[in-house]
Subunit: 209 residues, 2 copies
DNA sequence: TGCAATATAGAACAAACGATCTAAAATGAA
DNA sequence: TTCATTTTAGATCGTTTGTTCTATATTGCA
């Protein structure tokens, strides 16, 4: 047949993700990309098409590696309410440890390019629905087994959780402050608690641990 | 002395805001800016310094015109809890009417350039604290007069409201969906309601209106 | 009415941009 | 071994970028 690729596609995609993540789409040049990916410009165009197509591949790869992995892992290992709490706490932890202020590539993309590119907007929108339906499954299941109160509809709680998730990521980009982020989610977790007043709950938690 | 300016500084700043808002910082060229502002490139550099300095002026002008105006208006005309509700509803309304998907220049900036420019990050962070302290004043005052429950600390509620505000703006950029945004804030408003179960509250509201 | 000072329009600058071309290298099937 | 096919590195394409220069116009003060 023909000469085979010399590079590992997944590895160079990871490098591309890192560049787009670090500088954003517009501020990343094709030369930066090729250098960091360790391939020549021509190879990049040959293998991925153009800059925009490479970005689309990178974003999809990122969503698979990062978000979908987290959803799978938490949903299969924890009871529904705990999965929600763990999800948000993991996001907070990542935001606080993010010394380079990368933020979240999904959120960054949702703002920088989704509004100017209908196809990418669809990808972002579809994935955001995917996250929301993870929250919805958790809330519905928690309301069934009695660990989450039914005062608010499962749909609205899932919507709120999506919004809070994105809000944390934006806020953390400018103010990576532990008190701020942990305080932000406290009232949300209270909404997921079974109608137990906050004071009694704190006392109960201290007793348990 | 010397020859006077031929353009109105506030007017050309508005045009600059529109360009940065529409395309983002990186994707807006100085030629685009000068054309839309109706001045020559040299005049732009003479009057504002460089592209980055013009952006800083634009952002500050935007924050004054849009956000600070809204905070002043609502805080002086409405009781605290209503001011919070009106603030979020106004953001939702703007997001749904935003045919050009401009989003919010503050949120866009917080993600595109704040992480790469320490001085602009400070401006964004300081303003975000300003918004949070508006929410804090409202919640504290509402908790005092009994219109907002004290189950959650005023600080945490203000933090949550900030996060929800940003979350709405990001979500709306990719999914400008009324059900999503209005559903998102419903549980938040419930947190601000005086421990009245949702069912009784809906009934009471129907009776009142 | 000069004169210093600033604003203007438009050309010009080097550098960087996304993308492509050229020619050599590497492969498996015939 | 030949050949069609693909990948590679590096030069190169025409644009566009942010910024500055040149030359002219316009002002208030002396």
């Amino acid at each position: 047949m023909a000469r085979p690729r010399e590079f590992d596609e997944a590895a160079v995609l990871d490098a591309a993700i890192r560049q787009f993540w670090l500088h954003g789409y517009e501020a990343t040049s094709v030369r930066d990309l090729a250098d960091e990916m360790g391939i020549a410009g021509a190879s990049l165009y040959n293998a991925f098409g153009d800059k925009r197509a490479l970005f689309e591949r990178s974003l999809n790869h990122y969503l698979d590696q990062t978000f979908r992995e987290r959803i799978r892992r938490l949903e299969h290992s924890l009871p529904p309410r705990d999965a929600i709490v763990a999800f948000l706490q993991e996001i907070i932890k990542r935001s606080l440890n993010d010394k380079q202020r990368l933020g979240c590539l999904l959120v960054n993309s949702a703002l920088e390019i989704a509004p100017h590119d209908e196809e990418l907007r669809q990808i972002v929108a579809t994935f955001l629905r995917e996250v929301e339906s993870f929250f919805l499954r958790c809330v519905t299941s928690g309301q069934h087994d009695g660990t989450i109160p039914k005062a608010q509809s499962a749909e609205d709680l899932a919507r709120l959780l999506s919004g809070v998730l994105l809000g944390i990521r934006v806020l953390a980009r400018a103010r990576p402050d532990r008190k701020l982020l942990e305080g932000l989610v406290r009232p949300v977790f209270a909404l997921l608690d079974n109608a137990v007043p906050a004071k009694r709950l704190r006392k109960a938690r201290r007793g348990a641990s």
